[in-house]
Symmetry: C2
Subunit: 461 residues, 2 copies
């Protein structure tokens, strides 16, 4: 396949795809549900071959788990499409209607972006989700999935594409790219591809951004913060910190850095660090934090002499292994610049700050503008944080892990954007449309307005 | 000045600028009006030196005219700021408010983009307009104006910046860059500068796009089209074509290509070409057009035997000069690829098409997605055109020259975007904001929703 030629064909098909009625687009989604259900056994068979091949080549168990496409994943994927059918049509919304002058009416109407290239990791449900989002929003899409699920992707793509075409959508509405070197061809399709959405490792996303003139939407890093304020409610806050760090540490919305108000460090750190280390989290931090923790340890603040908040938790144990307190609470000293690190692992960076202002400055300097949270009962501190932190998501008293299209009620997401233009945060249907201005006149000339013969009256209607 | 350091300072000031109240931002605009009025004589003095220097170095008269900042331009600039004070605040608009679950509320709120770098041509009023747009929208801005108005820019910047700071905005809210080589420094400020808006020649904008990792908003070309449909009302249409081509041919929203329906070419071309050539427009076109025009000329369709529509116009004269009809109606033959040409001059490309579908295909292939117009009385053809043409502006029966922020009622514009992401068409205040998601909870954990202990209910409130 010559990607450039296929992309050009798709570009010409894009206005026809954009003109497809809401009924037709929803009918395509309905047909996709039916065909997936009818072909479940064949899908599972292909997926089993992918999984077997991965196991044979020694792919890590955690990764193999992600490759699996079973009854549960099919059910969830279908539930996602069903939910999407019910969502309001993102296309054709009139967001401005203004009479510029008598008989000269301006409208701003939402329209699909056109041709979107999505390069995603080896997760079969991603193919279904992304295709469905693009169909619902009237976009043509070029899809390249991870090679570890090549067989599953192939059968899924065939079924999804067949259903879309059977429902009346253009043949060129969806295209699958299967070879890794075709990604580089795709990067050169400026003019035909309107937007690239790469998902995957930081390096991969950065590679895409550095090697194309096509606009790229995505995030290259997810360095999320939690600031534990002096007026935080510890009983409420500690589980949030644990959830944000440990519930799924490999993802971009997991927390990487905990900033603790200096005034409460003595009392908060024992409770927080006990809860984190209990889940196997390793500690890094400034020299100040390392020394403070050492001092607290010497005073017996961890273990026996711990505060009431965590009294119900079993101390000093990680699983069944007993380890010396000194080892468990060892804080590896890190430099200032190390705070710009995304671990995506059970490691957390620790720093003390004087107040919410210092916390916000640190986050704006070292963060990735993804999602950051303040834990506090102080409304003024919370408002300052929400206002001053320059991130797509600014949270109060809840886990950073909520930054997700499904959790926001978008049905699904094509990715999370840490850029500030177009779409920010989890990107659902609204991020896949743009708009055009329609101006309807009766022969009006600009010359008449420049000469002063006529005047605009700009009446919103 | 080290631009990188100044940009970094500005980045840290940006959240404070974004937090400035609407009252403070409007007060700054009011103060700018006052200081401009108080210092009018000094401004005119500096401008006179710029103009004198330009004349001495032999700058073309048309350009010198653009450099002048006189009573009229000051009055218009002040009227623009006054209008902007009255516009709705673009910052702090809540565009989504949703209860994800009990006590967990998501809000999407519009916020300034942050730090914007604007590089603009030698037009003193542009400095005032751009500063005012950035202040109104809560953005910090780095401004680099054309060197031909260096003295005027310097005094204007000092007055505008002084007024903004006096009104309480951060010292680093505006920065002027004066040296040309500092543009290259500015291009390297990714991370600190959120958006670049270059204005000027195609090559210049393309240079900026090719040499920075900072997102760029703007247009590299304005290849606008008019399609004259078989059901066009010629009496209404001919003046629109003339206005779109000749009212100000040097700008991006002037028309470059006229597509004529083959069925009406015989009758329409004599009228249209007479009106265009009367204004000095030179003709280019396909071989088919060249031959057709030659044939029409031989039949005497131009000059004596012309139709009624143009009977009131004086034929065959361009100014006072009489020239042979053959010369006046000579169509220089052009190749297919030449249609992707922006003349910004009194030249027009001509082509015949079978129908609105062929017209739309041509525009999508050769246009720059700026602004394109259909002239027709046929509602179905118009609707097809407005739907299928993939441009920021799609017009019916009016001049492409209406594509402009002031004419759209945006108060002013920082530029016109031909990109499809973020902002499209004339970019006013709304294009200078983005949004953030605020999520307010009471200690909610993602783990509870993953395990099924809790469910989202997603109620819009």
């Amino acid at each position: 396949m010559v990607v450039r030629e296929e992309a050009r064909k798709m570009k010409l098909a894009a206005p026809h795809m954009a003109a497809a009625s809401e009924e037709m687009r929803n009918a395509a989604l309905q047909k996709i549900i039916e065909t997936l259900e009818e072909n479940r056994d064949a899908i599972f068979r292909e997926n089993a071959l992918d999984v077997q091949a991965a196991e044979e080549t020694g792919v890590a168990k955690a990764v193999v788990k992600r490759l699996k496409f079973d009854e549960n994943k099919l059910r969830d994927a279908i539930a996602g499409i069903r939910q999407m059918i019910g969502l309001t049509d993102p296309v054709g919304k009139v967001t401005l209607k203004r009479e510029l002058d008598e008989g000269l009416v301006l409208e701003r109407v939402s329209v699909p972006i056109g041709v979107i290239g999505v390069i995603f990791e080896a997760r079969p449900d991603a193919l279904i989700q992304i295709s469905a989002l693009c169909i619902k929003s009237g976009n043509c899409a070029i899809l390249k999935g991870g090679k570890e699920t090549a067989r599953t992707n192939k059968i899924l793509f065939g079924l999804v594409h067949g259903a879309a075409v059977a429902a009346g959508l253009p043949e060129s509405c969806l295209l699958q790219v299967e070879l890794h070197n075709e990604i580089d061809e795709l990067l050169k399709c400026q003019g035909d591809v309107d937007l690239l959405i790469p998902r995957g490792s930081n390096q991969f996303v950065q590679y895409i951004m550095d090697n194309t003139n096509i606009p790229v939407m995505g995030h290259a890093a997810g360095i999320c913060h939690i600031y534990l304020d002096e007026r935080a409610d510890l009983a409420k806050s500690v589980p949030v910190i644990v959830d944000a760090k440990t519930q799924y540490p490999a993802v971009c919305n997991a927390v990487e850095t905990l900033l603790v108000n200096r005034k409460i460090a003595d009392t908060a750190l024992p409770v927080v660090l006990q809860a984190l280390t209990e889940k196997g989290v390793m500690l890094r931090g400034t020299q100040e934090v390392a020394e403070l923790v050492k001092g607290l340890l010497a005073k017996g603040c961890f273990g026996e002499a711990r505060g009431n908040v965590c009294a119900s938790q079993e101390a000093n144990s990680v699983g069944d292994v007993q380890e010396p307190l000194e080892k468990r609470y060892e804080v590896e000293i890190m430099g200032e610049d190390d705070f710009a690190t995304e671990y995506t692992d059970l490691i957390i960076s620790l720093k003390l700050v004087d107040d919410v202002a210092e916390a916000a400055d640190h986050i704006n300097k070292f963060g990735s503008h993804h999602t950051d949270c303040i834990l506090t009962e102080d409304d003024a501190a919370a408002e300052y944080f929400l206002q001053m932190v320059d991130s797509a998501g600014v949270y109060r008293n809840c886990s950073t892990r909520f930054a997700d299209g499904f959790r926001y009620g978008f049905g699904a997401e094509v990715g999370v954007s840490t850029g500030k233009l177009h779409a920010r945060g989890p990107v659902g249907l609204e991020g896949l449309v743009t708009y055009k201005y329609r101006l309807i006149g009766e022969g009006q000339l600009v010359g008449d307005y420049v000469s002063g013969k006529k005047q605009f009256h700009h009446k919103d209607i």
